[in-house]
Symmetry: C2
Subunit: 256 residues, 2 copies
Protein backbone atom coordinates (compact mmCIF):
# COMPACT_ATOMS: atom_id res chain seq x y z
CA UNK A 1 0.00 0.00 0.00
CA UNK A 2 1.36 3.35 -1.04
CA UNK A 3 0.70 6.18 1.34
CA UNK A 4 1.05 9.86 0.67
CA UNK A 5 0.09 12.94 2.62
CA UNK A 6 -1.68 15.77 0.90
CA UNK A 7 -3.79 18.31 2.76
CA UNK A 8 -6.78 18.32 0.48
CA UNK A 9 -6.75 14.87 -1.04
CA UNK A 10 -9.18 12.84 1.04
CA UNK A 11 -7.99 9.55 -0.41
CA UNK A 12 -4.56 10.09 1.10
CA UNK A 13 -3.95 9.72 4.80
CA UNK A 14 -1.12 9.28 7.25
CA UNK A 15 -0.98 5.63 8.33
CA UNK A 16 -1.50 4.65 11.95
CA UNK A 17 -1.24 1.34 13.72
CA UNK A 18 -4.38 0.54 15.69
CA UNK A 19 -4.31 -1.77 18.67
CA UNK A 20 -6.73 -2.82 21.38
CA UNK A 21 -5.65 -2.98 25.01
CA UNK A 22 -7.68 -4.75 27.66
CA UNK A 23 -8.26 -3.72 31.23
CA UNK A 24 -9.47 -7.05 32.61
CA UNK A 25 -10.70 -6.72 36.18
CA UNK A 26 -11.83 -9.35 38.63
CA UNK A 27 -12.28 -9.68 42.37
CA UNK A 28 -10.12 -12.26 44.11
CA UNK A 29 -9.55 -12.63 47.82
CA UNK A 30 -11.47 -9.46 48.58
CA UNK A 31 -9.29 -7.33 46.29
CA UNK A 32 -9.85 -5.79 42.88
CA UNK A 33 -7.26 -7.29 40.53
CA UNK A 34 -6.17 -6.56 36.97
CA UNK A 35 -4.78 -9.00 34.45
CA UNK A 36 -1.20 -8.23 33.38
CA UNK A 37 1.11 -9.93 30.94
CA UNK A 38 4.88 -9.73 30.89
CA UNK A 39 6.26 -8.44 27.63
CA UNK A 40 8.59 -10.90 25.91
CA UNK A 41 9.85 -8.48 23.29
CA UNK A 42 11.06 -4.90 23.04
CA UNK A 43 10.06 -2.24 23.63
CA UNK A 44 9.52 -2.50 27.38
CA UNK A 45 10.79 -6.08 27.32
CA UNK A 46 10.27 -7.68 30.72
CA UNK A 47 7.78 -5.01 31.82
CA UNK A 48 4.26 -5.85 32.86
CA UNK A 49 1.62 -4.58 30.44
CA UNK A 50 -2.05 -4.83 29.69
CA UNK A 51 -2.97 -7.64 27.31
CA UNK A 52 -3.74 -6.50 23.80
CA UNK A 53 -2.66 -6.55 20.21
CA UNK A 54 -3.08 -5.19 16.73
CA UNK A 55 -6.48 -4.89 15.15
CA UNK A 56 -6.63 -6.96 11.98
CA UNK A 57 -7.58 -5.33 8.71
CA UNK A 58 -10.93 -7.07 8.47
CA UNK A 59 -12.22 -7.03 12.03
CA UNK A 60 -14.05 -4.48 14.12
CA UNK A 61 -12.68 -2.99 17.30
CA UNK A 62 -14.92 -4.86 19.74
CA UNK A 63 -14.31 -7.99 17.72
CA UNK A 64 -10.56 -7.55 18.12
CA UNK A 65 -10.95 -6.97 21.85
CA UNK A 66 -13.08 -10.07 22.17
CA UNK A 67 -10.55 -12.11 20.23
CA UNK A 68 -7.65 -10.90 22.34
CA UNK A 69 -9.61 -11.65 25.48
CA UNK A 70 -10.28 -15.20 24.36
CA UNK A 71 -6.63 -15.67 23.40
CA UNK A 72 -5.43 -14.47 26.79
CA UNK A 73 -8.03 -15.90 29.15
CA UNK A 74 -10.36 -18.22 27.27
CA UNK A 75 -13.26 -15.96 28.24
CA UNK A 76 -16.12 -15.49 25.84
CA UNK A 77 -17.42 -11.96 26.12
CA UNK A 78 -20.39 -10.50 24.34
CA UNK A 79 -19.81 -6.88 23.52
CA UNK A 80 -21.66 -4.41 25.65
CA UNK A 81 -24.23 -2.69 23.43
CA UNK A 82 -25.83 -5.89 22.23
CA UNK A 83 -27.68 -7.60 25.03
CA UNK A 84 -26.38 -10.92 26.17
CA UNK A 85 -28.05 -13.40 23.89
CA UNK A 86 -27.95 -16.07 26.57
CA UNK A 87 -30.28 -14.05 28.75
CA UNK A 88 -30.06 -12.82 32.32
CA UNK A 89 -27.73 -14.64 34.60
CA UNK A 90 -25.63 -16.11 31.83
CA UNK A 91 -21.96 -16.53 32.58
CA UNK A 92 -19.29 -14.72 30.61
CA UNK A 93 -17.58 -11.42 31.05
CA UNK A 94 -18.81 -7.92 30.42
CA UNK A 95 -16.90 -6.02 27.76
CA UNK A 96 -17.23 -2.36 26.91
CA UNK A 97 -15.13 0.25 25.21
CA UNK A 98 -13.20 2.41 27.64
CA UNK A 99 -11.30 5.13 25.79
CA UNK A 100 -8.75 5.67 23.08
CA UNK A 101 -5.15 6.71 23.62
CA UNK A 102 -3.08 8.24 20.88
CA UNK A 103 -0.25 10.42 22.12
CA UNK A 104 2.22 10.69 19.25
CA UNK A 105 5.07 9.23 21.31
CA UNK A 106 3.23 6.61 23.29
CA UNK A 107 4.95 3.84 21.36
CA UNK A 108 8.60 4.40 20.38
CA UNK A 109 8.32 2.23 17.30
CA UNK A 110 5.61 4.00 15.39
CA UNK A 111 2.42 6.00 15.64
CA UNK A 112 0.00 3.76 17.49
CA UNK A 113 -3.57 4.54 18.46
CA UNK A 114 -4.86 2.14 21.06
CA UNK A 115 -8.53 1.57 21.76
CA UNK A 116 -8.85 0.35 25.34
CA UNK A 117 -11.62 -2.00 26.41
CA UNK A 118 -12.81 -2.73 29.91
CA UNK A 119 -13.61 -6.31 30.87
CA UNK A 120 -15.31 -7.27 34.12
CA UNK A 121 -15.00 -10.97 34.83
CA UNK A 122 -15.77 -13.37 37.66
CA UNK A 123 -12.85 -14.95 39.44
CA UNK A 124 -10.86 -16.99 36.95
CA UNK A 125 -8.12 -19.58 37.24
CA UNK A 126 -4.57 -18.28 37.13
CA UNK A 127 -4.08 -17.10 33.59
CA UNK A 128 -1.82 -18.79 31.14
CA UNK A 129 0.70 -16.82 29.19
CA UNK A 130 -0.34 -16.53 25.60
CA UNK A 131 1.05 -15.27 22.32
CA UNK A 132 3.95 -12.89 22.73
CA UNK A 133 3.76 -12.75 26.54
CA UNK A 134 6.25 -14.60 28.70
CA UNK A 135 4.04 -14.58 31.78
CA UNK A 136 0.72 -13.49 33.14
CA UNK A 137 -0.69 -12.69 36.57
CA UNK A 138 -3.49 -11.07 38.48
CA UNK A 139 -2.26 -7.99 40.31
CA UNK A 140 -4.24 -6.09 42.95
CA UNK A 141 -4.88 -2.66 41.55
CA UNK A 142 -3.84 -1.02 44.82
CA UNK A 143 -0.33 -2.23 44.09
CA UNK A 144 -0.39 -0.70 40.64
CA UNK A 145 -2.01 2.67 41.13
CA UNK A 146 -1.24 5.73 43.13
CA UNK A 147 1.94 7.08 44.66
CA UNK A 148 2.06 4.34 47.30
CA UNK A 149 2.61 1.74 44.64
CA UNK A 150 4.23 -1.31 46.16
CA UNK A 151 5.74 -2.51 42.91
CA UNK A 152 8.19 0.23 41.99
CA UNK A 153 8.26 -0.64 38.31
CA UNK A 154 5.59 1.11 36.25
CA UNK A 155 3.63 -0.59 33.52
CA UNK A 156 4.74 -0.51 29.90
CA UNK A 157 3.69 2.32 27.61
CA UNK A 158 0.86 4.43 29.07
CA UNK A 159 -0.83 1.35 30.47
CA UNK A 160 -0.76 2.71 34.01
CA UNK A 161 -2.94 5.58 32.84
CA UNK A 162 -5.25 3.26 30.94
CA UNK A 163 -5.57 0.99 33.96
CA UNK A 164 -6.40 3.94 36.21
CA UNK A 165 -9.11 5.05 33.80
CA UNK A 166 -10.52 1.53 33.67
CA UNK A 167 -10.62 1.18 37.43
CA UNK A 168 -12.31 4.54 37.77
CA UNK A 169 -14.88 3.55 35.16
CA UNK A 170 -15.62 0.31 36.99
CA UNK A 171 -15.90 2.09 40.33
CA UNK A 172 -18.37 4.63 39.04
CA UNK A 173 -20.33 2.29 36.82
CA UNK A 174 -21.32 -0.16 39.55
CA UNK A 175 -22.96 2.79 41.27
CA UNK A 176 -25.74 3.20 38.79
CA UNK A 177 -25.92 -0.16 37.04
CA UNK A 178 -26.14 -3.81 37.94
CA UNK A 179 -22.69 -4.36 36.51
CA UNK A 180 -21.19 -5.54 39.77
CA UNK A 181 -22.91 -8.84 39.09
CA UNK A 182 -20.44 -9.34 36.22
CA UNK A 183 -17.81 -9.99 38.90
CA UNK A 184 -19.89 -12.81 40.37
CA UNK A 185 -20.59 -16.34 39.21
CA UNK A 186 -23.90 -17.06 37.54
CA UNK A 187 -25.52 -17.63 40.92
CA UNK A 188 -24.44 -15.56 43.89
CA UNK A 189 -25.61 -14.41 47.28
CA UNK A 190 -26.28 -10.90 48.50
CA UNK A 191 -23.20 -11.17 50.70
CA UNK A 192 -21.00 -12.13 47.77
CA UNK A 193 -22.29 -9.18 45.81
CA UNK A 194 -21.63 -6.93 48.78
CA UNK A 195 -18.04 -8.14 48.96
CA UNK A 196 -17.66 -7.17 45.31
CA UNK A 197 -18.74 -3.62 46.08
CA UNK A 198 -16.46 -3.52 49.08
CA UNK A 199 -13.47 -4.73 47.06
CA UNK A 200 -14.05 -2.42 44.10
CA UNK A 201 -14.72 0.65 46.22
CA UNK A 202 -12.34 -0.25 49.02
CA UNK A 203 -14.93 0.41 51.73
CA UNK A 204 -17.02 -1.59 54.17
CA UNK A 205 -20.77 -1.52 53.74
CA UNK A 206 -23.48 -2.25 56.24
CA UNK A 207 -24.81 -5.74 55.42
CA UNK A 208 -28.34 -4.88 56.49
CA UNK A 209 -28.69 -1.68 54.52
CA UNK A 210 -27.01 -3.28 51.52
CA UNK A 211 -29.41 -6.20 51.63
CA UNK A 212 -32.40 -3.89 51.84
CA UNK A 213 -31.13 -1.80 48.95
CA UNK A 214 -30.29 -4.52 46.43
CA UNK A 215 -33.30 -6.69 47.16
CA UNK A 216 -35.54 -3.65 47.06
CA UNK A 217 -34.34 -2.38 43.69
CA UNK A 218 -36.61 -3.78 40.95
CA UNK A 219 -34.78 -5.67 38.23
CA UNK A 220 -31.47 -5.89 40.02
CA UNK A 221 -31.65 -9.43 41.37
CA UNK A 222 -33.69 -12.48 40.41
CA UNK A 223 -34.10 -15.18 43.07
CA UNK A 224 -32.93 -18.48 41.63
CA UNK A 225 -34.66 -20.51 44.31
CA UNK A 226 -31.66 -22.24 45.84
CA UNK A 227 -29.60 -21.49 48.90
CA UNK A 228 -25.98 -22.00 49.79
CA UNK A 229 -23.77 -22.04 52.86
CA UNK A 230 -20.49 -21.70 50.98
CA UNK A 231 -19.73 -18.49 52.85
CA UNK A 232 -20.45 -20.11 56.22
CA UNK A 233 -23.15 -19.04 58.61
CA UNK A 234 -26.83 -19.14 57.90
CA UNK A 235 -27.81 -20.35 54.44
CA UNK A 236 -28.17 -17.51 51.98
CA UNK A 237 -30.54 -17.17 49.08
CA UNK A 238 -29.04 -17.48 45.62
CA UNK A 239 -29.75 -14.88 42.97
CA UNK A 240 -28.94 -14.25 39.35
CA UNK A 241 -28.48 -10.85 37.77
CA UNK A 242 -31.79 -9.27 36.88
CA UNK A 243 -30.12 -7.49 34.01
CA UNK A 244 -31.42 -4.05 34.91
CA UNK A 245 -29.14 -1.72 33.04
CA UNK A 246 -29.67 1.39 35.09
CA UNK A 247 -30.41 1.62 38.78
CA UNK A 248 -32.57 4.50 39.93
CA UNK A 249 -31.84 5.59 42.56
CA UNK A 250 -28.22 4.44 42.35
CA UNK A 251 -26.09 2.63 44.88
CA UNK A 252 -24.32 5.27 46.92
CA UNK A 253 -20.59 5.14 47.45
CA UNK A 254 -19.91 6.25 51.03
CA UNK A 255 -18.36 9.67 51.75
CA UNK A 256 -17.56 10.51 48.14
Amino acid sequence: MIVAMSRYDPSAFPPFAVTVDLVVLTVREHALCALLVRRGEPPYQGYWALPGGFVRPDEGLAEAASRELAEETGLRAPSAPGHDAAGPGAAGAHLEQLATYGHPQRDPRMRVVSVAYLVLAPDLPTPRAGGDASGARWAPVTELLGPDRADGVPLAFDHGLILADGVERARSKIEYSSLATAFCATEFTVGELRRVYEAVWGVVLDPRNFHRKVTGTPGFLLPSGGTTTRQGGRPAQLFTSGGANVLNPPMLRPES
Copy 2:
Protein backbone atom coordinates in the same frame (compact mmCIF):
# COMPACT_ATOMS: atom_id res chain seq x y z
CA MET B 1 6.38 3.46 4.20
CA ILE B 2 6.33 -0.24 3.48
CA VAL B 3 3.71 -2.20 5.30
CA ALA B 4 3.55 -5.95 5.72
CA MET B 5 1.40 -8.18 7.83
CA SER B 6 3.03 -10.94 9.83
CA ARG B 7 1.46 -12.50 12.87
CA TYR B 8 4.44 -12.39 15.16
CA ASP B 9 6.42 -9.44 13.86
CA PRO B 10 5.49 -6.55 16.14
CA SER B 11 7.11 -4.01 13.87
CA ALA B 12 4.66 -4.80 11.09
CA PHE B 13 1.08 -3.64 11.24
CA PRO B 14 -1.90 -3.11 8.98
CA PRO B 15 -2.30 0.60 8.25
CA PHE B 16 -5.42 2.48 9.33
CA ALA B 17 -6.58 6.00 8.73
CA VAL B 18 -7.46 7.77 11.97
CA THR B 19 -9.90 10.66 12.07
CA VAL B 20 -11.63 12.71 14.71
CA ASP B 21 -15.32 13.50 14.48
CA LEU B 22 -16.97 16.17 16.59
CA VAL B 23 -20.39 16.12 18.19
CA VAL B 24 -20.77 19.82 18.89
CA LEU B 25 -23.89 20.53 20.94
CA THR B 26 -25.43 23.81 21.94
CA VAL B 27 -28.79 25.07 23.13
CA ARG B 28 -30.56 27.56 20.92
CA GLU B 29 -34.16 28.65 21.11
CA HIS B 30 -34.95 26.14 23.81
CA ALA B 31 -33.72 23.18 21.72
CA LEU B 32 -30.62 21.04 21.83
CA CYS B 33 -28.81 21.48 18.53
CA ALA B 34 -25.88 19.78 16.85
CA LEU B 35 -23.43 21.27 14.41
CA LEU B 36 -23.51 19.67 10.97
CA VAL B 37 -21.52 20.33 7.82
CA ARG B 38 -22.51 19.47 4.29
CA ARG B 39 -20.03 17.25 2.54
CA GLY B 40 -18.59 18.79 -0.60
CA GLU B 41 -16.87 15.66 -1.85
CA PRO B 42 -17.59 11.98 -2.24
CA PRO B 43 -18.36 9.72 -0.54
CA TYR B 44 -21.72 10.92 0.74
CA GLN B 45 -21.37 14.11 -1.28
CA GLY B 46 -24.16 16.52 -0.38
CA TYR B 47 -25.01 14.65 2.81
CA TRP B 48 -24.89 16.30 6.21
CA ALA B 49 -22.13 15.01 8.45
CA LEU B 50 -20.39 15.72 11.70
CA PRO B 51 -17.38 18.03 11.40
CA GLY B 52 -14.06 16.28 11.60
CA GLY B 53 -10.96 15.30 9.74
CA PHE B 54 -7.79 13.29 9.65
CA VAL B 55 -5.44 13.24 12.58
CA ARG B 56 -2.03 14.52 11.57
CA PRO B 57 1.05 12.37 12.09
CA ASP B 58 2.48 14.59 14.80
CA GLU B 59 -0.57 15.60 16.84
CA GLY B 60 -2.48 13.92 19.62
CA LEU B 61 -6.12 12.99 19.40
CA ALA B 62 -7.50 15.72 21.64
CA GLU B 63 -5.21 18.16 19.90
CA ALA B 64 -6.67 17.17 16.54
CA ALA B 65 -10.19 17.54 17.89
CA SER B 66 -9.37 20.95 19.27
CA ARG B 67 -7.86 22.03 15.96
CA GLU B 68 -10.86 20.84 13.96
CA LEU B 69 -13.17 22.62 16.37
CA ALA B 70 -11.29 25.86 15.94
CA GLU B 71 -11.30 25.47 12.16
CA GLU B 72 -15.05 24.87 12.06
CA THR B 73 -16.32 27.23 14.73
CA GLY B 74 -13.51 29.41 15.98
CA LEU B 75 -14.07 28.00 19.46
CA ARG B 76 -11.12 27.51 21.74
CA ALA B 77 -11.66 24.43 23.86
CA PRO B 78 -9.45 23.14 26.59
CA SER B 79 -9.48 19.36 26.70
CA ALA B 80 -11.47 17.86 29.50
CA PRO B 81 -8.98 16.16 31.84
CA GLY B 82 -6.88 19.25 32.33
CA HIS B 83 -8.74 21.86 34.29
CA ASP B 84 -9.58 25.07 32.56
CA ALA B 85 -6.51 27.18 33.06
CA ALA B 86 -8.56 30.34 32.92
CA GLY B 87 -10.37 29.36 36.08
CA PRO B 88 -14.02 28.96 36.98
CA GLY B 89 -16.49 30.81 34.86
CA ALA B 90 -14.17 31.19 31.94
CA ALA B 91 -15.78 31.08 28.53
CA GLY B 92 -14.92 28.44 25.99
CA ALA B 93 -16.35 25.08 25.23
CA HIS B 94 -16.05 21.80 27.07
CA LEU B 95 -14.37 19.02 25.09
CA GLU B 96 -14.13 15.36 26.02
CA GLN B 97 -13.54 12.12 24.24
CA LEU B 98 -16.75 10.29 23.43
CA ALA B 99 -15.99 6.91 21.85
CA THR B 100 -14.19 5.33 18.93
CA TYR B 101 -15.86 3.83 15.90
CA GLY B 102 -14.09 1.37 13.65
CA HIS B 103 -16.40 -0.93 11.77
CA PRO B 104 -14.39 -2.27 8.84
CA GLN B 105 -16.84 -0.94 6.25
CA ARG B 106 -17.78 2.36 7.86
CA ASP B 107 -15.91 4.28 5.16
CA PRO B 108 -16.07 2.87 1.62
CA ARG B 109 -12.69 4.30 0.67
CA MET B 110 -10.46 2.64 3.23
CA ARG B 111 -10.20 1.35 6.75
CA VAL B 112 -10.91 4.33 8.97
CA VAL B 113 -11.01 4.44 12.74
CA SER B 114 -12.70 7.55 14.02
CA VAL B 115 -12.28 8.93 17.51
CA ALA B 116 -15.36 10.96 18.35
CA TYR B 117 -15.22 13.95 20.67
CA LEU B 118 -18.09 15.65 22.42
CA VAL B 119 -18.15 19.45 22.61
CA LEU B 120 -20.61 21.40 24.71
CA ALA B 121 -20.70 25.05 23.75
CA PRO B 122 -22.74 28.12 24.57
CA ASP B 123 -24.93 29.53 21.83
CA LEU B 124 -22.76 30.57 18.91
CA PRO B 125 -23.28 32.63 15.80
CA THR B 126 -24.37 30.73 12.72
CA PRO B 127 -21.35 28.70 11.71
CA ARG B 128 -19.35 29.37 8.64
CA ALA B 129 -18.53 26.60 6.24
CA GLY B 130 -14.89 25.68 6.48
CA GLY B 131 -12.41 23.47 4.68
CA ASP B 132 -14.00 20.77 2.57
CA ALA B 133 -17.55 21.56 3.67
CA SER B 134 -19.96 23.37 1.39
CA GLY B 135 -22.27 24.45 4.18
CA ALA B 136 -22.86 24.30 7.88
CA ARG B 137 -25.88 24.58 10.17
CA TRP B 138 -27.22 23.96 13.62
CA ALA B 139 -29.82 21.20 13.56
CA PRO B 140 -32.13 20.35 16.48
CA VAL B 141 -31.23 16.84 17.54
CA THR B 142 -34.90 15.85 17.67
CA GLU B 143 -34.95 16.23 13.90
CA LEU B 144 -31.93 13.99 13.54
CA LEU B 145 -32.56 11.14 15.96
CA GLY B 146 -35.21 8.53 16.35
CA PRO B 147 -37.74 7.03 13.98
CA ASP B 148 -39.80 10.23 13.83
CA ARG B 149 -36.98 12.02 12.13
CA ALA B 150 -38.30 15.01 10.26
CA ASP B 151 -35.40 15.16 7.82
CA GLY B 152 -35.67 11.91 5.91
CA VAL B 153 -32.05 11.87 4.83
CA PRO B 154 -29.69 10.20 7.29
CA LEU B 155 -26.30 11.54 8.15
CA ALA B 156 -23.17 10.45 6.31
CA PHE B 157 -21.21 7.38 7.41
CA ASP B 158 -22.22 6.20 10.91
CA HIS B 159 -22.55 9.77 12.12
CA GLY B 160 -26.15 9.25 13.17
CA LEU B 161 -24.97 6.63 15.63
CA ILE B 162 -22.15 8.82 16.86
CA LEU B 163 -24.51 11.75 17.33
CA ALA B 164 -26.94 9.57 19.29
CA ASP B 165 -24.13 8.43 21.57
CA GLY B 166 -23.01 12.03 22.08
CA VAL B 167 -26.49 13.24 22.94
CA GLU B 168 -26.97 10.39 25.38
CA ARG B 169 -23.62 11.21 26.99
CA ALA B 170 -24.58 14.85 27.38
CA ARG B 171 -27.99 13.97 28.80
CA SER B 172 -26.56 11.68 31.43
CA LYS B 173 -23.53 13.75 32.26
CA ILE B 174 -25.41 16.89 33.24
CA GLU B 175 -27.14 14.77 35.87
CA TYR B 176 -24.10 14.26 38.04
CA SER B 177 -21.79 17.12 37.05
CA SER B 178 -21.94 20.86 36.61
CA LEU B 179 -21.41 20.44 32.90
CA ALA B 180 -24.69 22.06 31.95
CA THR B 181 -22.99 25.38 32.69
CA ALA B 182 -20.86 24.77 29.58
CA PHE B 183 -23.98 25.54 27.55
CA CYS B 184 -24.30 28.95 29.21
CA ALA B 185 -22.41 32.19 28.81
CA THR B 186 -19.84 33.08 31.43
CA GLU B 187 -22.50 34.68 33.57
CA PHE B 188 -25.96 33.18 33.66
CA THR B 189 -29.08 33.05 35.81
CA VAL B 190 -30.67 30.09 37.49
CA GLY B 191 -33.52 30.32 35.02
CA GLU B 192 -31.16 30.19 32.07
CA LEU B 193 -29.50 27.13 33.52
CA ARG B 194 -32.88 25.53 34.06
CA ARG B 195 -33.78 26.12 30.43
CA VAL B 196 -30.60 24.28 29.48
CA TYR B 197 -31.66 21.25 31.47
CA GLU B 198 -35.14 21.44 30.00
CA ALA B 199 -33.81 21.62 26.45
CA VAL B 200 -31.26 18.82 26.86
CA TRP B 201 -33.62 16.47 28.66
CA GLY B 202 -36.76 17.54 26.83
CA VAL B 203 -38.73 18.01 30.03
CA VAL B 204 -40.15 20.85 32.10
CA LEU B 205 -38.75 21.35 35.57
CA ASP B 206 -40.28 23.09 38.54
CA PRO B 207 -38.53 26.47 38.82
CA ARG B 208 -38.77 26.54 42.61
CA ASN B 209 -37.37 23.09 43.22
CA PHE B 210 -34.68 23.64 40.60
CA HIS B 211 -33.64 26.89 42.21
CA ARG B 212 -33.44 25.25 45.62
CA LYS B 213 -31.41 22.35 44.27
CA VAL B 214 -28.77 24.22 42.31
CA THR B 215 -28.28 27.01 44.82
CA GLY B 216 -28.11 24.47 47.63
CA THR B 217 -25.45 22.26 46.04
CA PRO B 218 -22.02 23.39 47.24
CA GLY B 219 -19.58 24.24 44.47
CA PHE B 220 -22.14 24.26 41.68
CA LEU B 221 -22.74 27.99 41.36
CA LEU B 222 -20.76 31.05 42.39
CA PRO B 223 -22.70 34.32 42.75
CA SER B 224 -21.06 36.94 40.58
CA GLY B 225 -22.81 39.82 42.33
CA GLY B 226 -24.73 41.27 39.45
CA THR B 227 -28.31 40.90 38.32
CA THR B 228 -30.01 40.93 34.97
CA THR B 229 -33.50 41.28 33.54
CA ARG B 230 -32.63 39.97 30.10
CA GLN B 231 -35.19 37.16 30.53
CA GLY B 232 -37.90 39.61 31.58
CA GLY B 233 -39.63 39.60 34.91
CA ARG B 234 -38.01 40.18 38.23
CA PRO B 235 -34.25 40.76 38.15
CA ALA B 236 -32.33 37.53 38.56
CA GLN B 237 -29.00 36.98 40.26
CA LEU B 238 -26.05 36.22 38.00
CA PHE B 239 -23.80 33.24 38.66
CA THR B 240 -20.69 31.67 37.23
CA SER B 241 -19.91 27.99 37.22
CA GLY B 242 -18.45 26.85 40.52
CA GLY B 243 -16.52 24.19 38.69
CA ALA B 244 -17.67 21.33 40.90
CA ASN B 245 -16.88 18.26 38.86
CA VAL B 246 -19.24 15.86 40.52
CA LEU B 247 -22.59 16.62 42.09
CA ASN B 248 -23.60 14.52 45.06
CA PRO B 249 -26.48 13.92 45.18
CA PRO B 250 -27.05 14.34 41.45
CA MET B 251 -29.70 16.27 39.60
CA LEU B 252 -32.59 13.91 38.96
CA ARG B 253 -34.02 13.49 35.52
CA PRO B 254 -37.80 13.12 35.93
CA GLU B 255 -39.49 9.75 35.38
CA SER B 256 -36.45 7.96 34.03
